[in-house]
């Protein structure tokens, strides 16, 4: 009896350790291709509240045919981009997917309507997955929001 209780407690503690609550996803949004011909970009922030490094290993969405993990970076003034197999979620830190850096590439055909939300399924190491709602936003909107103190509405 006692042993069963201890096991149950241990199981509970273990499940708490791996609990989805330790990873918090926020600010998820998707930007369709302005020309309608290219892939969409996906951006979000994942905070890892646990004390072990995790990783994002894949993603998918019912709104597009296929999603890849990509990274853009500047190399001596030249914009470069490459697909990556995984993105690290540092222990106690966060992974930011943002324009000009790590991002998701959503390949078409896509069904994306500005202002609506789509579901992004994030695949993590260890077979864990997480679904988040991502808002569909217009391209370039992120720059306006971050840099436009002159605009008054």
């Amino acid at each position: 009896m006692k042993r069963a209780a201890a096991l149950a407690l241990a199981a509970l503690l273990l499940s708490a350790c791996g609990a989805p609550g330790e990873l918090a996803v926020r600010d998820a949004y998707v930007v369709p291709s302005p020309s309608g011909t290219g892939p969409a970009g996906g951006f979000l922030v994942i905070a890892n509240g646990s004390d072990r490094e995790r990783s994002l290993v894949g993603a998918s969405t019912p709104a597009c045919a296929r999603v890849e993990l990509h990274r853009s970076w500047l190399d001596g003034g030249v914009a470069r981009m490459a697909a990556v197999d995984a993105m690290a979620l540092p222990a106690g830190g966060e992974l930011r997917l943002e324009p000009g850096g790590y991002h998701l590439m959503l390949f078409g055909p896509c069904t994306l309507h500005e202002g609506e939300r789509v579901t992004l399924r994030l695949e993590l190491d260890g077979g864990e997955a997480r679904e988040v709602a991502a808002e569909v936003r217009p391209a370039g909107g992120e720059a306006a929001g971050a840099h436009d103190p002159h605009e008054h509405h």
């Binding site: 930007v31 291709s33 302005p34 020309s35 309608g36 011909t37 290219g38 892939p39 969409a40 970009g41 990509h70 853009s72 500047l74 190399d75 003034g77 030249v78 914009a79 470069r80 981009m81 490459a82 324009p99 000009g100 850096g101 991002h103 590439m105 390949f107 217009p138 391209a139 370039g140 909107g141 992120e142 720059a143 306006a144 840099h147 436009d148 103190p149 002159h150 605009e151």
Partner: protein, 226 residues
């Protein structure tokens, strides 16, 4: 450490000597730095930290591109007004939309003030003519501003222009027939009304700082002419 007032005379003298030597060294150092600076060529002038002015404006070569309406887009289209050029491709999901968003914010900032800055031209040149047909380019640039212009051309014509401007663009290895990417210069190039490259705005670009730098460059250009 003892109080300087209590120090015996020789030590006080020694200290004075050290100070004199230090002062002389400092003087020599300043003289040396000034001399070296005089001997060196002047650095490329910075207009704030947002832009690097070319010491001598660089004339653009003749080139023949096609705009987003299918019309010819040649050097003449850059004459008579100031233009910002950005080289990218419409399938680029991250850096290009971000930069066109910055161009739009600059344009808004500049048009909101002195109307003299409102006639600036913003051109997105695609280095991916195979996929960026005029109508796709038009949708792409109009998404950011109805006045923005898209242009592209065959490899030879693109190369003629980008070589002269120092713009790098290269298809990245891998990918498939319809899905591939480009490495490309992420700077904004400022072309003056004489169709000369005048300044380079390198990332990260803050639209308000860039707008300020652009105004400063035009003031400088105006002073030089008058």
């Amino acid at each position: 450490m003892s109080n300087p007032a209590e120090a015996p005379a020789p030590r006080r003298l020694a200290r004075l000597g050290v100070r004199a030597v230090a002062l002389a060294a400092l003087g020599l150092g300043i003289w040396f730095v000034l001399e070296v600076r005089r001997a060196l060529p002047p650095p490329a002038p910075q207009v704030g930290s947002a832009a690097t002015l070319l010491p001598v404006p660089k004339a653009l070569p003749e080139f023949r591109l096609v705009d987003d309406g299918g019309e010819p887009f040649a050097r003449e289209r850059l004459a008579g007004r100031w233009s910002f050029l950005f080289f990218g491709y419409a399938h680029c999901p991250s850096i290009c939309p971000m930069t066109l968003g910055i161009m739009r914010d600059m344009h808004r900032e500049l048009s909101a003030g002195d109307p003299a800055y409102g006639d600036t031209q913003y051109v997105f040149v695609s280095v991916d003519p195979e996929r960026d047909a005029p109508d796709a380019l038009r949708r792409y640039v109009r998404h950011f501003d109805p006045g923005f212009v898209g242009a592209t051309g065959d490899r030879e014509e693109l190369g003629r222009l980008t070589r002269e401007l120092g713009v790098f663009h290269q298809r990245t290895p891998g990918g498939s027939v319809e899905q591939y990417d480009f490495d490309h210069t992420a700077s904004l190039l400022l072309i003056d009304p004489e169709a000369q490259l005048r300044a380079v705005f390198s990332p990260p670009i803050d639209p308000l700082e860039a707008a300020d730098a652009f105004r400063a460059i035009r003031r400088l250009a105006g002073e030089a002419r008058s």
